[in-house]
Subunit: 190 residues, 2 copies
């Protein structure tokens, strides 16, 4: 998606160690019109997968998941990393590594909002190693739901996430696919 | 806003101790069409305050702030509760009590995205005691920004937040104002 790629080139910053800083328009400050356009694009690409629910992880997945949900007219559930007091004692819980925290974090979904036979579209900001998304897959499968598609705003193909998701056999879409951040330079897959 | 009040009456649950569970449509599962309608309503109510930026707090403020931002065409910043590695060392930081965590949490904004002379509209899911919103006010003021309005999806008037914000002298709007949750019954202000 050219709009997102252009924005990454103009405002993204390579911090080293494969880290791309996009907190000026994705995950601290959000450009709502860009995010809305990304949501519309996801809705178009996943129009025919039969999704009944969108699943993401707090925190930075929420903005793209909500704009996608608006365009698809589907409810969106964001997995929590801490169990709020409003959640029942019995929950779906899995562990996934956090890049920003440098440790494992919990991903928690209430059984009230992820039911048997749900067809789940996962939307997140990044597809890197795929570890967070595989955590969401485990939560959905624990609920007896079926994954029907996976979308990420930005894919870092050099971290191998797409291969990690291949065995799921579902449509995987990224709106900007980066093949290298070497030497501070952002290179997209053609 | 009747649509939100109706939804609170049909799907909200009073858990006792003044806690209203709305995680089926606001802050775990999100109804995107309801949230989009709320965003449109905030955009209408704050059309003339001259806002240049929307500020909220992760996590549950993100969805209503993003839909409001889409309708106003303004960037939205969500204060982080943990400093990600992509954030500079020098930040704006304040402490605010967390209802769900039962302790003080940090609210952090990067100076990159909250600048001097910004006119800030604060959007959050709840206005209860006003403590979180006052934390956001402190961050904005530390940055030299000016608060021009405050909007919350749901106000619990019996917790006194509106009084706590009165000295700011800005427009405060809630889309559903609850005067009592006594005896498990949700009563709105007329």
């Amino acid at each position: 998606m050219q709009l997102l790629k252009d924005r990454i080139l103009s405002d993204g910053k390579v911090l080293g160690n494969g880290i791309l800083k996009v907190d000026g328009f994705v995950n601290h400050q959000v450009d709502p019109l860009l995010m809305d356009a990304c949501g519309r694009e996801f809705a178009k690409r996943f129009a025919n997968v039969g999704a009944t629910k969108i699943l993401t992880a707090e925190i930075s997945g929420i903005a793209p998941a909500v704009t996608t949900a608006v365009h698809m007219g589907l409810p969106v559930v964001y997995a929590r990393k801490n169990k709020p007091i409003t959640m029942p004692d019995q929950v779906y819980l899995t562990l996934a590594p956090s890049h920003t925290k440098g440790r494992m974090v919990e991903l928690i979904v209430s059984p009230e909002y992820l039911e048997n036979n749900e067809k789940v579209l996962i939307i997140d900001d990044f597809l890197a190693s795929g570890a967070t998304i595989l955590g969401l897959v485990r939560l959905a499968e624990a609920a007896g739901s079926q994954i029907v598609g996976i979308g990420a705003l930005i894919e870092k193909s050099f971290e191998g996430g797409r291969d990690a998701l291949a065995s799921l056999g579902v449509q995987v879409e990224s709106l900007a696919c980066i093949k290298s951040l070497d030497n501070g330079k952002i290179e997209f897959v053609d």
